[in-house]
Amino acid sequence: MYQVTEWIALQTIVVKEVRRFMRIWVQTLIPPGITMILYFVVFGNLIGSRLGQMQGVSYIEYIVPGLVMMSVITNAYSNVASSFFSSKFQKCIEELLVSPIPNSIILLGYVLGGVFRGALVGMTIMVLSLFFVQFTPNDLIMTFLVLFLTASLFAMGGFINALFAKKFDDISIVPTFILAPLTYLGGVFYSIDLFDPFWRTLSLFNPIVYMVNAFRYGLLGITDVNIGYALAMILIFNLLLFLSAMVLLHKGVGVKH
């Protein structure tokens, strides 16, 4: 059971993290909004109107959940990766390491910072999407549960990336060469049921497929995968990354000599 002092420490880390991304809101909050508006206009309105319906809804309606997830994933990941790596780079991570904060609180603090940014951006995109398409959420609890679990999963991913990173290039390699392809191939713009069995089965190895579909189910009631299975996968990945980050922190990988 955590003591009051540890809750104060957690609160301090979270406030510091939120203050950081709010201070540079032009870099952190505005760009995803602009990018997604362009997606809605080009893919949703201009191209989507010629594509007809996808699984019973308009194409723009179909891609909204995937685009929200894409923003949540990117922002939660990059927030923690860049913030934690900058702390290492400036050596101010030492402030945390010399203080009596358990590793779990350090991890939780940074992850919550990433979750706040991911959720804030995700909800902003949802509001922006209402200017292009009207829909009523199918299951609000599922929608927000998946939103927060996805944000926490990728925030932890960003944390692990930052632990290993030795230079700024190292925190852009994973988002560029791994996250972006997995996200684009994770059913954001299409249903994996359109594939032949081989490619459909292969797609099921992509964890982002489960997040996009679970979130799409929450918003529109449509999914390519079993919802219970998708939620279980998201929870398992969260647990795996949490344990990995804790082991790495305990060993002092990337932060101690």
Binding site: T5, A9, C92, S99, K256, H257
Partner: protein
């Protein structure tokens, strides 16, 4: 009986690159002490401090802080510890007040408690007027003082300072010495590493010299200085001398017509010197040590690296 502020037993550290930084050092710093840890660059001072504050993982050995074994409850030990590192390690984009308040939060101080302490230490270190300044725009001396304020905000029982006055001008250095002396007088144990040996001699009661990962001297400052075989003094004379005077029993030389250098051997005192100078009608305006006394001892204890 109270515990030692720091007790180190057979501490070893080898880095993965093969370098052995510490070869089994043992050390004890009493509570309330002002302790100097001296040594040349790369001797193992920063590694020792790094282990004390958990930035460096030890290879073997035991360390306890106020009786708390760091292997058993490092977080409790860290609560008693404040660290001022050699390099600036605060977020340069944060305001001065936020740097201190954030650190207070890490130690579990409520916002109300932290505000009071932050104000007290920022005022004591002359930074209160700069509290809303972004820390990267502070001068080097102010940044050093900010790190001291940050390390003290949770009022640790042990303060470790790694080269706290490096690059600080003389006036500011003196005011930092006064501040640290006062802090120590109030009961805070202080461990200091420095390259300014005058600083160690002025402030510290006990000293350890570390060289190539080994403790080569660990004693009181007084006992260490007593080991000096010879001291040289420079006397600034009131009147210039045309010829070199004869001062029996002393080794000396006239540096220039108005400066006389006299070497005092073991058992000789300044009173003897003045008595002899009076006998030959030489009046002295002022005098100083030719070199820092501790410096001479330090050089004799450590092996040259070049």
């Amino acid at each position: 009986m109270g515990y030692a502020a720091v007790k180190i037993n057979d501490l070893r550290k080898s880095y993965s690159c093969g370098v052995t930084a510490l070869q089994g050092i043992s050390l004890e710093v009493a509570e309330g002490d002002f302790f100097a840890l001296l040594g040349p660059n790369g001797a193992g001072k920063s590694t020792t401090i790094g282990i004390l504050c958990s930035l460096v993982a030890k290879t073997s050995g035991n360390v306890s802080i106020f009786g708390i074994d760091i292997d058993k409850n490092f977080n409790r030990a860290k609560q008693l510890l404040g660290v001022v590192p050699q390099e600036f390690n605060f977020n340069q984009f944060e305001k001065v007040i936020d740097v201190v308040m954030t650190q207070a939060g890490y130690y579990g101080l409520s916002r109300h408690q932290a505000q009071g302490k932050a104000e007290y230490y920022l005022k004591a270190l002359g930074l209160w007027e700069k509290r809303y300044t972004v820390s990267r725009s502070l001068s080097g001396g102010m940044k050093r003082r900010l790190m001291i304020a940050r390390a003290l905000v949770h009022e640790p029982r042990l303060l470790i300072l790694d080269e706290p006055t490096a690059g600080v001008d003389i006036e500011l250095r003196r005011s930092m010495w006064d501040f640290l002396t006062e802090l120590n007088a109030k009961g805070t144990t202080v461990i200091l590493t420095t390259h300014y040996l005058e600083e160690a001699e002025s402030l510290c009661r006990n000293v350890a010299i570390i060289d190539q990962g080994c403790i080569v001297e660990n004693t009181s400052m007084r006992a260490l200085l007593d080991q000096l075989d010879q001291q040289s003094f420079l006397f600034d004379l009131q009147e210039p001398l045309a010829v070199v005077p004869i001062l029996k029993d002393f080794s000396y030389q006239l540096v220039d017509p108005q400066t006389l250098e006299i070497n005092l051997g073991h058992g000789q005192s300044l009173n003897d010197v003045f008595e002899r100078l009076n006998q030959v009608n030489i009046r002295v305006r002022s005098m100083k040590n030719k070199s820092n006394r501790l410096e001479a001892l330090f050089i004799s204890r450590v092996q040259p690296t070049l």
